[in-house]
Protein backbone atom coordinates (compact mmCIF):
# COMPACT_ATOMS: atom_id res chain seq x y z
CA UNK A 1 0.00 0.00 0.00
CA UNK A 2 2.84 2.34 0.90
CA UNK A 3 4.61 1.84 -2.43
CA UNK A 4 1.31 2.17 -4.24
CA UNK A 5 0.82 5.58 -2.57
CA UNK A 6 4.35 6.62 -3.51
CA UNK A 7 3.62 5.70 -7.13
CA UNK A 8 0.29 7.54 -7.12
CA UNK A 9 2.05 10.65 -5.83
CA UNK A 10 4.66 10.40 -8.60
CA UNK A 11 1.87 10.05 -11.13
CA UNK A 12 0.15 13.17 -9.75
CA UNK A 13 3.42 15.07 -10.00
CA UNK A 14 4.29 14.22 -13.60
CA UNK A 15 1.12 13.29 -15.44
CA UNK A 16 0.77 16.86 -16.75
CA UNK A 17 4.46 17.55 -17.22
CA UNK A 18 5.27 18.53 -20.79
CA UNK A 19 8.85 17.17 -20.80
CA UNK A 20 7.87 13.76 -19.42
CA UNK A 21 4.90 13.54 -21.81
CA UNK A 22 7.04 14.49 -24.81
CA UNK A 23 9.77 11.97 -24.01
CA UNK A 24 7.17 9.25 -23.42
CA UNK A 25 5.31 9.98 -26.65
CA UNK A 26 8.54 10.02 -28.66
CA UNK A 27 9.53 6.64 -27.25
CA UNK A 28 6.10 5.18 -28.02
CA UNK A 29 6.16 6.56 -31.58
CA UNK A 30 9.76 5.66 -32.45
CA UNK A 31 9.73 2.18 -30.91
CA UNK A 32 7.36 0.59 -33.45
CA UNK A 33 8.26 2.82 -36.38
CA UNK A 34 12.07 2.71 -36.26
CA UNK A 35 12.17 -1.04 -36.97
CA UNK A 36 10.41 -0.41 -40.28
CA UNK A 37 13.46 1.49 -41.49
CA UNK A 38 14.64 -2.08 -42.13
CA UNK A 39 12.17 -2.22 -45.00
CA UNK A 40 14.38 0.27 -46.82
CA UNK A 41 17.40 -2.07 -46.67
CA UNK A 42 16.89 -3.93 -49.91
CA UNK A 43 20.55 -5.00 -50.16
CA UNK A 44 21.43 -6.68 -46.89
CA UNK A 45 24.94 -7.98 -45.97
CA UNK A 46 25.77 -11.42 -47.48
CA UNK A 47 25.50 -13.12 -44.08
CA UNK A 48 21.80 -12.20 -43.92
CA UNK A 49 19.21 -14.00 -46.04
CA UNK A 50 17.02 -10.91 -46.63
CA UNK A 51 15.53 -8.01 -44.73
CA UNK A 52 12.60 -10.09 -43.48
CA UNK A 53 14.77 -11.15 -40.51
CA UNK A 54 14.16 -7.70 -39.08
CA UNK A 55 10.45 -8.52 -38.76
CA UNK A 56 10.13 -12.29 -38.34
CA UNK A 57 10.28 -14.38 -35.17
CA UNK A 58 12.63 -15.08 -33.54
CA UNK A 59 15.30 -12.70 -34.97
CA UNK A 60 12.84 -9.80 -34.75
CA UNK A 61 13.28 -9.71 -30.94
CA UNK A 62 16.98 -8.93 -31.37
CA UNK A 63 16.52 -6.21 -33.97
CA UNK A 64 13.61 -4.55 -32.18
CA UNK A 65 15.57 -4.91 -28.94
CA UNK A 66 18.53 -3.08 -30.44
CA UNK A 67 16.26 -0.26 -31.60
CA UNK A 68 14.82 -0.20 -28.07
CA UNK A 69 18.35 -0.14 -26.66
CA UNK A 70 18.95 3.30 -28.21
CA UNK A 71 15.46 4.59 -27.51
CA UNK A 72 15.50 3.58 -23.84
CA UNK A 73 19.00 4.98 -23.39
CA UNK A 74 17.90 8.29 -24.83
CA UNK A 75 14.23 8.92 -24.01
CA UNK A 76 13.68 6.87 -20.86
CA UNK A 77 17.11 7.60 -19.38
CA UNK A 78 16.51 11.32 -19.86
CA UNK A 79 13.02 10.97 -18.39
CA UNK A 80 14.43 9.42 -15.20
CA UNK A 81 17.05 12.17 -14.93
CA UNK A 82 14.39 14.83 -15.43
CA UNK A 83 12.03 13.31 -12.86
CA UNK A 84 14.74 13.64 -10.22
CA UNK A 85 16.56 16.84 -11.17
CA UNK A 86 13.38 18.83 -11.86
CA UNK A 87 12.45 18.26 -8.22
CA UNK A 88 15.73 19.88 -7.24
CA UNK A 89 15.17 22.78 -9.65
CA UNK A 90 11.63 23.43 -8.43
CA UNK A 91 12.80 22.85 -4.81
CA UNK A 92 9.96 20.34 -4.49
CA UNK A 93 12.43 17.66 -3.37
CA UNK A 94 13.05 19.58 -0.15
CA UNK A 95 9.38 20.53 0.08
CA UNK A 96 8.35 16.86 -0.18
CA UNK A 97 10.61 16.10 2.80
CA UNK A 98 9.31 19.12 4.71
CA UNK A 99 5.74 18.03 3.98
CA UNK A 100 6.25 14.62 5.53
CA UNK A 101 8.21 12.21 3.36
CA UNK A 102 11.23 10.65 5.03
CA UNK A 103 14.33 10.67 2.84
CA UNK A 104 13.81 6.93 2.45
CA UNK A 105 10.26 7.59 1.18
CA UNK A 106 11.44 10.12 -1.38
CA UNK A 107 14.18 7.83 -2.62
CA UNK A 108 11.81 4.88 -2.83
CA UNK A 109 9.25 6.97 -4.73
CA UNK A 110 11.90 7.60 -7.39
CA UNK A 111 13.24 4.07 -7.41
CA UNK A 112 9.84 2.38 -7.63
CA UNK A 113 8.70 4.74 -10.38
CA UNK A 114 11.92 4.00 -12.29
CA UNK A 115 11.29 0.26 -11.99
CA UNK A 116 7.66 0.66 -13.05
CA UNK A 117 8.77 2.79 -15.99
CA UNK A 118 11.18 0.03 -17.06
CA UNK A 119 8.43 -2.57 -16.69
CA UNK A 120 6.19 -0.40 -18.87
CA UNK A 121 8.77 0.04 -21.66
CA UNK A 122 9.47 -3.71 -21.52
CA UNK A 123 5.76 -4.36 -21.81
CA UNK A 124 5.64 -2.07 -24.83
CA UNK A 125 8.63 -3.93 -26.33
CA UNK A 126 6.79 -7.23 -25.84
CA UNK A 127 3.49 -5.94 -27.28
CA UNK A 128 5.08 -4.17 -30.25
CA UNK A 129 7.39 -7.13 -30.90
CA UNK A 130 4.48 -9.52 -30.76
CA UNK A 131 2.46 -7.39 -33.17
CA UNK A 132 5.27 -7.03 -35.72
CA UNK A 133 6.27 -10.69 -35.43
CA UNK A 134 2.77 -12.14 -35.77
CA UNK A 135 2.12 -9.87 -38.73
CA UNK A 136 5.28 -10.89 -40.60
CA UNK A 137 5.94 -14.51 -39.55
CA UNK A 138 4.01 -17.09 -41.49
CA UNK A 139 2.17 -19.58 -39.30
CA UNK A 140 3.45 -18.05 -36.04
CA UNK A 141 1.47 -18.29 -32.84
CA UNK A 142 2.01 -17.08 -29.26
CA UNK A 143 3.75 -20.31 -28.22
CA UNK A 144 6.30 -19.87 -31.02
CA UNK A 145 6.70 -16.16 -30.25
CA UNK A 146 7.59 -16.74 -26.61
CA UNK A 147 9.41 -20.09 -27.02
CA UNK A 148 12.67 -19.89 -25.03
CA UNK A 149 12.40 -16.13 -25.24
CA UNK A 150 14.89 -14.45 -22.90
CA UNK A 151 14.83 -11.25 -24.91
CA UNK A 152 12.05 -9.74 -22.80
CA UNK A 153 13.79 -10.13 -19.40
CA UNK A 154 17.05 -8.97 -21.02
CA UNK A 155 15.26 -5.90 -22.35
CA UNK A 156 13.97 -5.13 -18.85
CA UNK A 157 17.43 -5.49 -17.33
CA UNK A 158 18.92 -3.33 -20.04
CA UNK A 159 16.28 -0.63 -19.43
CA UNK A 160 16.89 -0.72 -15.69
CA UNK A 161 20.61 -0.53 -16.35
CA UNK A 162 20.47 2.67 -18.41
CA UNK A 163 17.95 4.16 -15.99
CA UNK A 164 20.17 3.30 -13.02
CA UNK A 165 23.05 5.26 -14.60
CA UNK A 166 20.71 8.23 -15.14
CA UNK A 167 19.32 7.78 -11.62
CA UNK A 168 22.78 7.86 -10.06
CA UNK A 169 23.97 10.82 -12.12
CA UNK A 170 20.78 12.75 -11.29
CA UNK A 171 21.22 12.23 -7.54
CA UNK A 172 24.94 12.99 -7.82
CA UNK A 173 24.82 16.18 -9.90
CA UNK A 174 21.25 17.36 -9.22
CA UNK A 175 21.20 19.97 -11.97
CA UNK A 176 19.20 18.96 -15.05
CA UNK A 177 21.47 20.35 -17.73
CA UNK A 178 24.73 19.09 -16.27
CA UNK A 179 23.25 15.68 -15.45
CA UNK A 180 21.88 15.21 -18.99
CA UNK A 181 25.18 16.28 -20.57
CA UNK A 182 27.14 13.96 -18.31
CA UNK A 183 24.79 11.03 -18.92
CA UNK A 184 24.86 11.37 -22.71
CA UNK A 185 28.58 12.01 -22.92
CA UNK A 186 29.42 9.17 -20.52
CA UNK A 187 27.47 6.52 -22.41
CA UNK A 188 28.32 7.73 -25.91
CA UNK A 189 31.86 8.96 -25.44
CA UNK A 190 33.56 8.77 -22.03
CA UNK A 191 33.12 5.05 -21.43
CA UNK A 192 34.35 4.23 -24.92
CA UNK A 193 37.46 6.38 -24.39
CA UNK A 194 38.02 4.71 -21.00
CA UNK A 195 37.63 1.24 -22.49
CA UNK A 196 39.62 1.59 -25.67
CA UNK A 197 41.82 4.60 -24.98
CA UNK A 198 42.87 3.88 -21.40
CA UNK A 199 41.98 0.35 -20.34
CA UNK A 200 42.74 -1.21 -23.71
CA UNK A 201 46.13 0.46 -23.95
CA UNK A 202 47.05 -0.54 -20.40
CA UNK A 203 45.74 -4.11 -20.38
CA UNK A 204 45.72 -4.90 -24.08
CA UNK A 205 42.73 -5.03 -26.38
CA UNK A 206 42.41 -8.80 -26.10
CA UNK A 207 41.82 -8.60 -22.35
CA UNK A 208 38.15 -9.41 -21.85
CA UNK A 209 37.88 -7.08 -18.82
CA UNK A 210 37.58 -4.27 -21.34
CA UNK A 211 33.99 -5.30 -21.93
CA UNK A 212 32.85 -5.21 -18.30
CA UNK A 213 31.98 -1.52 -18.14
CA UNK A 214 28.50 -0.39 -17.05
CA UNK A 215 27.03 1.00 -20.27
CA UNK A 216 28.70 -1.74 -22.32
CA UNK A 217 27.26 -4.43 -20.05
CA UNK A 218 23.77 -2.96 -20.46
CA UNK A 219 24.22 -2.57 -24.20
CA UNK A 220 25.39 -6.17 -24.58
CA UNK A 221 22.08 -7.39 -23.16
CA UNK A 222 20.49 -6.11 -26.38
CA UNK A 223 23.44 -5.60 -28.72
CA UNK A 224 23.51 -4.80 -32.38
CA UNK A 225 22.61 -8.25 -33.85
CA UNK A 226 25.06 -7.73 -36.69
CA UNK A 227 27.92 -7.93 -34.13
CA UNK A 228 27.04 -11.59 -33.62
CA UNK A 229 27.70 -12.15 -37.34
CA UNK A 230 30.91 -10.16 -37.08
CA UNK A 231 32.09 -12.38 -34.23
CA UNK A 232 31.64 -15.41 -36.45
CA UNK A 233 34.09 -14.04 -38.99
CA UNK A 234 37.61 -15.45 -38.34
CA UNK A 235 40.09 -12.58 -38.18
CA UNK A 236 43.49 -13.31 -36.68
CA UNK A 237 44.40 -9.67 -36.21
CA UNK A 238 41.21 -8.95 -34.33
CA UNK A 239 41.21 -11.92 -32.03
CA UNK A 240 39.09 -10.54 -29.22
CA UNK A 241 35.46 -10.67 -28.10
CA UNK A 242 33.19 -8.00 -29.47
CA UNK A 243 30.47 -8.77 -26.97
CA UNK A 244 29.86 -10.21 -23.53
CA UNK A 245 27.74 -13.33 -23.50
CA UNK A 246 24.18 -12.73 -22.32
CA UNK A 247 24.97 -14.44 -19.01
CA UNK A 248 28.08 -12.33 -18.42
CA UNK A 249 26.24 -9.16 -19.40
CA UNK A 250 23.31 -10.02 -17.09
CA UNK A 251 25.52 -10.70 -14.05
CA UNK A 252 27.62 -7.61 -14.68
CA UNK A 253 24.45 -5.51 -15.17
CA UNK A 254 22.85 -6.70 -11.93
CA UNK A 255 26.02 -5.77 -10.04
CA UNK A 256 26.21 -2.31 -11.63
CA UNK A 257 22.49 -1.66 -11.12
CA UNK A 258 22.84 -2.56 -7.43
CA UNK A 259 25.87 -0.29 -7.10
CA UNK A 260 24.18 2.67 -8.80
CA UNK A 261 20.95 2.40 -6.80
CA UNK A 262 22.87 1.72 -3.58
CA UNK A 263 25.27 4.64 -3.98
CA UNK A 264 22.38 6.96 -4.83
CA UNK A 265 20.58 5.90 -1.67
CA UNK A 266 23.48 6.49 0.70
CA UNK A 267 24.39 9.74 -1.01
CA UNK A 268 20.83 11.02 -0.70
CA UNK A 269 20.62 10.05 2.96
CA UNK A 270 23.83 11.85 3.88
CA UNK A 271 23.69 15.10 1.94
CA UNK A 272 21.89 18.37 2.58
CA UNK A 273 18.94 18.87 0.29
Amino acid sequence: MKYYNLLVTEWLKFRKNAVVSLLGIMFLVFMPTSIFIGKEFKNVPPQLPNNSIFFEFPSMWSYLGYVGNWLVFFFIGLMVIYMITSEVGYKTMRQNIISGYTRHDFYMSKMTSTIVLCLFVTFMYAVIGLGIGLWHTEGADLAYAFDNNWAIPRFFLMSLGYCSIGFFIAFLLRRSGIAVMFYLSYVILVEIILRWGVHGKMMGFKNSSINYYPANSFEDLMPNPLFRYAEAIPMEDLDFDFLLTYGQAAISSVIYISIFFGLSYFMFLKRDI
Binding site: N5, V8, T9, L12, K13, K16, N17, A18, Y90, K91, T92, R94, Q95, N96, I97, I98, S99, G100, Y101, T102, R103, K270, R271, D272, I273
Partner: protein, 295 residues
Protein backbone atom coordinates in the same frame (compact mmCIF):
# COMPACT_ATOMS: atom_id res chain seq x y z
CA UNK B 1 3.77 18.76 26.20
CA UNK B 2 6.99 19.79 24.46
CA UNK B 3 6.35 20.22 20.74
CA UNK B 4 10.04 20.60 19.87
CA UNK B 5 13.23 20.29 21.85
CA UNK B 6 16.58 21.24 20.32
CA UNK B 7 19.73 20.10 22.05
CA UNK B 8 23.14 21.55 21.26
CA UNK B 9 22.49 21.80 17.51
CA UNK B 10 25.43 23.00 15.39
CA UNK B 11 26.14 23.42 11.69
CA UNK B 12 29.13 24.89 9.89
CA UNK B 13 29.73 25.66 6.24
CA UNK B 14 33.50 25.56 5.93
CA UNK B 15 34.79 28.21 8.32
CA UNK B 16 31.40 29.79 8.80
CA UNK B 17 29.59 28.62 11.89
CA UNK B 18 25.95 28.97 10.89
CA UNK B 19 24.52 27.55 14.13
CA UNK B 20 26.50 27.04 17.33
CA UNK B 21 25.26 24.81 20.14
CA UNK B 22 21.63 25.89 19.95
CA UNK B 23 19.31 24.75 22.73
CA UNK B 24 15.62 25.50 22.64
CA UNK B 25 12.35 24.08 23.90
CA UNK B 26 9.00 24.98 22.45
CA UNK B 27 5.89 24.07 24.38
CA UNK B 28 2.75 23.01 22.58
CA UNK B 29 0.34 25.86 21.95
CA UNK B 30 2.90 28.67 21.97
CA UNK B 31 3.40 31.18 19.20
CA UNK B 32 7.17 31.29 19.04
CA UNK B 33 9.19 33.91 17.25
CA UNK B 34 12.71 33.11 16.06
CA UNK B 35 14.22 36.52 15.70
CA UNK B 36 17.57 37.37 14.21
CA UNK B 37 19.22 39.52 11.54
CA UNK B 38 19.78 38.14 8.05
CA UNK B 39 22.39 35.38 8.14
CA UNK B 40 21.92 34.73 11.85
CA UNK B 41 21.18 31.01 11.35
CA UNK B 42 17.37 31.00 11.48
CA UNK B 43 16.81 29.16 8.19
CA UNK B 44 19.70 26.76 8.86
CA UNK B 45 18.13 25.91 12.22
CA UNK B 46 14.74 25.32 10.61
CA UNK B 47 16.38 23.30 7.83
CA UNK B 48 17.97 21.02 10.40
CA UNK B 49 14.79 20.41 12.40
CA UNK B 50 12.99 19.67 9.11
CA UNK B 51 15.69 17.17 8.01
CA UNK B 52 16.79 18.91 4.87
CA UNK B 53 20.10 20.01 6.40
CA UNK B 54 22.24 17.52 8.28
CA UNK B 55 23.53 18.90 11.60
CA UNK B 56 27.24 18.56 12.40
CA UNK B 57 26.30 17.78 15.97
CA UNK B 58 23.36 17.93 18.34
CA UNK B 59 19.90 16.44 18.28
CA UNK B 60 16.29 17.50 18.09
CA UNK B 61 13.06 15.76 18.93
CA UNK B 62 9.53 16.47 17.81
CA UNK B 63 6.48 15.80 19.99
CA UNK B 64 8.62 13.92 22.54
CA UNK B 65 9.12 11.19 19.93
CA UNK B 66 5.39 10.45 19.66
CA UNK B 67 5.29 10.11 15.86
CA UNK B 68 8.71 8.54 15.23
CA UNK B 69 10.18 9.26 11.78
CA UNK B 70 6.87 10.62 10.52
CA UNK B 71 6.73 13.67 12.81
CA UNK B 72 6.81 16.01 9.81
CA UNK B 73 3.38 14.81 8.75
CA UNK B 74 2.23 16.71 11.85
CA UNK B 75 4.20 19.83 10.91
CA UNK B 76 3.25 22.34 8.24
CA UNK B 77 6.18 24.43 7.10
CA UNK B 78 7.26 27.05 4.60
CA UNK B 79 11.01 27.40 4.34
CA UNK B 80 12.31 30.47 2.46
CA UNK B 81 10.19 30.31 -0.69
CA UNK B 82 6.90 28.61 -1.62
CA UNK B 83 7.86 25.46 -3.54
CA UNK B 84 5.31 23.85 -5.85
CA UNK B 85 5.09 22.24 -9.29
CA UNK B 86 4.77 25.28 -11.58
CA UNK B 87 2.80 23.46 -14.30
CA UNK B 88 0.06 22.33 -11.89
CA UNK B 89 -2.80 24.40 -10.50
CA UNK B 90 -3.52 25.12 -6.82
CA UNK B 91 -5.78 22.10 -6.29
CA UNK B 92 -3.38 19.69 -8.00
CA UNK B 93 -0.47 20.98 -5.93
CA UNK B 94 -2.43 20.72 -2.69
CA UNK B 95 -3.46 17.19 -3.65
CA UNK B 96 0.22 16.17 -3.85
CA UNK B 97 0.98 17.64 -0.42
CA UNK B 98 -2.11 15.93 1.00
CA UNK B 99 -1.04 12.64 -0.56
CA UNK B 100 2.42 12.95 1.04
CA UNK B 101 0.81 13.63 4.40
CA UNK B 102 -1.31 10.51 3.96
CA UNK B 103 -4.58 12.42 3.52
CA UNK B 104 -7.55 11.45 1.38
CA UNK B 105 -8.89 14.89 0.49
CA UNK B 106 -10.35 15.65 -2.91
CA UNK B 107 -11.70 19.08 -2.13
CA UNK B 108 -9.51 21.95 -1.01
CA UNK B 109 -11.96 24.82 -1.39
CA UNK B 110 -12.13 25.54 2.35
CA UNK B 111 -8.37 26.07 2.54
CA UNK B 112 -8.26 28.09 -0.66
CA UNK B 113 -11.09 30.23 0.69
CA UNK B 114 -9.15 30.80 3.92
CA UNK B 115 -6.17 32.16 1.99
CA UNK B 116 -8.36 34.00 -0.53
CA UNK B 117 -7.33 31.93 -3.55
CA UNK B 118 -10.54 30.13 -4.35
CA UNK B 119 -11.18 32.27 -7.43
CA UNK B 120 -7.74 31.28 -8.81
CA UNK B 121 -7.80 27.59 -7.95
CA UNK B 122 -7.56 26.52 -11.59
CA UNK B 123 -4.63 28.82 -12.41
CA UNK B 124 -1.22 27.28 -12.81
CA UNK B 125 1.17 27.96 -9.92
CA UNK B 126 3.61 29.72 -12.29
CA UNK B 127 0.92 32.28 -13.10
CA UNK B 128 0.57 33.37 -9.46
CA UNK B 129 1.99 36.56 -7.97
CA UNK B 130 4.49 36.15 -5.13
CA UNK B 131 1.79 36.99 -2.59
CA UNK B 132 -0.54 34.36 -4.03
CA UNK B 133 2.27 31.78 -4.03
CA UNK B 134 2.95 32.55 -0.40
CA UNK B 135 -0.75 32.23 0.47
CA UNK B 136 -0.96 28.88 -1.34
CA UNK B 137 2.04 27.72 0.69
CA UNK B 138 0.23 28.76 3.87
CA UNK B 139 -2.82 26.74 2.75
CA UNK B 140 -0.54 23.73 2.16
CA UNK B 141 0.87 24.00 5.67
CA UNK B 142 -2.63 23.44 7.05
CA UNK B 143 -3.12 20.09 5.32
CA UNK B 144 -3.15 17.01 7.50
CA UNK B 145 -4.29 18.97 10.55
CA UNK B 146 -0.73 19.83 11.70
CA UNK B 147 0.09 20.42 15.34
CA UNK B 148 2.95 22.78 14.54
CA UNK B 149 3.26 25.41 11.83
CA UNK B 150 6.59 26.86 10.75
CA UNK B 151 6.83 30.07 8.75
CA UNK B 152 10.24 31.28 7.61
CA UNK B 153 10.22 34.95 6.63
CA UNK B 154 6.68 34.62 5.27
CA UNK B 155 6.34 38.26 4.20
CA UNK B 156 9.69 38.52 2.42
CA UNK B 157 9.40 40.23 -0.93
CA UNK B 158 5.69 40.95 -0.64
CA UNK B 159 4.08 44.31 -1.36
CA UNK B 160 2.27 46.07 1.53
CA UNK B 161 -1.07 44.52 0.60
CA UNK B 162 0.48 41.05 0.38
CA UNK B 163 2.18 41.56 3.76
CA UNK B 164 -1.13 42.54 5.35
CA UNK B 165 -2.92 39.54 3.82
CA UNK B 166 -0.28 37.04 4.93
CA UNK B 167 -0.19 38.52 8.45
CA UNK B 168 -3.96 38.32 8.71
CA UNK B 169 -3.90 34.65 7.72
CA UNK B 170 -1.10 33.93 10.22
CA UNK B 171 -2.99 35.70 13.00
CA UNK B 172 -6.08 33.65 12.13
CA UNK B 173 -4.03 30.42 12.24
CA UNK B 174 -2.46 31.42 15.55
CA UNK B 175 -5.96 31.87 16.98
CA UNK B 176 -6.78 28.22 16.10
CA UNK B 177 -4.64 27.06 19.03
CA UNK B 178 -1.81 25.60 16.92
CA UNK B 179 1.85 25.84 17.87
CA UNK B 180 3.49 28.34 15.54
CA UNK B 181 7.19 28.95 14.94
CA UNK B 182 7.77 32.17 13.05
CA UNK B 183 11.29 33.01 11.90
CA UNK B 184 11.68 36.62 10.96
CA UNK B 185 13.99 39.58 11.01
CA UNK B 186 10.97 41.91 11.04
CA UNK B 187 10.59 42.78 14.68
CA UNK B 188 7.13 44.25 14.81
CA UNK B 189 5.86 41.16 12.93
CA UNK B 190 7.13 38.95 15.75
CA UNK B 191 5.96 41.42 18.38
CA UNK B 192 2.43 41.46 16.95
CA UNK B 193 1.96 37.73 16.43
CA UNK B 194 4.16 35.87 18.94
CA UNK B 195 3.94 35.32 22.67
CA UNK B 196 7.42 33.78 23.01
CA UNK B 197 10.62 34.82 21.30
CA UNK B 198 14.16 33.54 20.87
CA UNK B 199 16.80 35.95 19.62
CA UNK B 200 19.73 34.50 17.71
CA UNK B 201 22.75 36.07 16.11
CA UNK B 202 25.72 34.44 14.40
CA UNK B 203 24.14 31.09 15.15
CA UNK B 204 24.06 31.66 18.91
CA UNK B 205 21.01 31.94 21.10
CA UNK B 206 21.21 35.32 22.85
CA UNK B 207 17.90 35.49 24.70
CA UNK B 208 14.68 33.54 24.99
CA UNK B 209 11.41 33.84 26.86
CA UNK B 210 8.03 35.52 26.79
CA UNK B 211 7.92 38.58 24.56
CA UNK B 212 6.93 40.57 27.66
CA UNK B 213 9.90 39.30 29.64
CA UNK B 214 12.35 40.05 26.84
CA UNK B 215 11.00 43.57 26.77
CA UNK B 216 12.47 45.39 29.76
CA UNK B 217 10.27 47.61 31.94
CA UNK B 218 12.32 50.72 31.09
CA UNK B 219 10.54 53.71 29.68
CA UNK B 220 11.81 55.38 26.52
CA UNK B 221 11.67 59.15 26.50
CA UNK B 222 11.83 61.28 23.36
CA UNK B 223 12.46 64.92 24.11
CA UNK B 224 13.27 67.88 21.87
CA UNK B 225 14.04 71.56 22.22
CA UNK B 226 15.59 74.29 20.05
CA UNK B 227 19.10 73.66 21.49
CA UNK B 228 19.77 69.90 21.56
CA UNK B 229 23.34 70.29 22.90
CA UNK B 230 22.13 72.20 25.96
CA UNK B 231 19.29 69.68 26.35
CA UNK B 232 21.76 66.78 26.30
CA UNK B 233 23.90 68.43 29.00
CA UNK B 234 20.91 69.06 31.23
CA UNK B 235 19.45 65.59 30.68
CA UNK B 236 22.70 63.91 31.69
CA UNK B 237 22.39 65.59 35.11
CA UNK B 238 19.04 63.89 35.74
CA UNK B 239 19.41 60.71 37.80
CA UNK B 240 19.00 57.27 36.16
CA UNK B 241 19.12 58.55 32.58
CA UNK B 242 20.55 55.85 30.27
CA UNK B 243 21.16 55.26 26.59
CA UNK B 244 21.08 58.93 25.70
CA UNK B 245 21.25 59.31 21.93
CA UNK B 246 20.51 61.93 19.33
CA UNK B 247 17.75 61.34 16.80
CA UNK B 248 16.74 63.69 13.97
CA UNK B 249 15.26 66.62 15.88
CA UNK B 250 15.13 65.21 19.37
CA UNK B 251 17.05 63.19 21.93
CA UNK B 252 16.13 59.73 23.10
CA UNK B 253 16.93 58.09 26.43
CA UNK B 254 15.61 55.48 28.85
CA UNK B 255 14.60 55.83 32.47
CA UNK B 256 13.56 53.14 34.97
CA UNK B 257 9.86 52.32 35.06
CA UNK B 258 9.44 53.71 38.60
CA UNK B 259 10.66 57.16 37.55
CA UNK B 260 8.01 59.84 37.46
CA UNK B 261 8.02 61.27 33.95
CA UNK B 262 6.37 64.44 35.19
CA UNK B 263 9.40 65.00 37.46
CA UNK B 264 11.67 64.87 34.43
CA UNK B 265 9.59 67.48 32.63
CA UNK B 266 9.62 69.72 35.71
CA UNK B 267 13.39 69.23 36.04
CA UNK B 268 13.98 70.36 32.47
CA UNK B 269 11.75 73.41 32.90
CA UNK B 270 13.57 74.33 36.11
CA UNK B 271 16.82 74.32 34.12
CA UNK B 272 15.37 76.70 31.57
CA UNK B 273 14.56 74.12 28.89
CA UNK B 274 11.29 74.51 27.07
CA UNK B 275 10.50 71.31 25.19
CA UNK B 276 8.95 71.24 21.75
CA UNK B 277 8.68 67.42 21.66
CA UNK B 278 8.05 65.14 24.63
CA UNK B 279 6.99 61.49 24.29
CA UNK B 280 7.06 58.78 26.93
CA UNK B 281 6.58 55.15 25.82
CA UNK B 282 7.46 51.56 26.68
CA UNK B 283 10.51 50.21 24.87
CA UNK B 284 9.83 48.44 21.60
CA UNK B 285 11.08 44.94 20.80
CA UNK B 286 13.19 46.56 18.09
CA UNK B 287 15.11 48.55 20.67
CA UNK B 288 15.50 45.49 22.89
CA UNK B 289 16.65 43.49 19.89
CA UNK B 290 19.26 46.05 18.94
CA UNK B 291 20.43 46.21 22.55
CA UNK B 292 20.71 42.42 22.81
CA UNK B 293 22.37 41.89 19.46
CA UNK B 294 24.82 44.80 19.55
CA UNK B 295 28.45 43.70 19.43
Amino acid sequence: MIALSINNLSKSYGRIKAVQGLNLEIEKGTIYGLLGPNGSGKTTTLGMILDIIKPDQGTYQWFEGKYGDYHRKKVGAILETPNFYPYLDATENLKIVDQIKGGKRNNFDDLLELVNLLHRKKSKFRAYSLGMKQRLAIAATLLGDPEVLIFDEPTNGLDPQGIAEVRNVMTEIASMGKTVLLASHILHEVEKICDHVAIIKNGKLLATGLVGSILSDDITIEVGSHDLDQLATVLSDFSNIENLSRKNTWLECTIPSDTNVEELNKFLFSKGIVTNHFVSRKRKLEEEFLEITKE
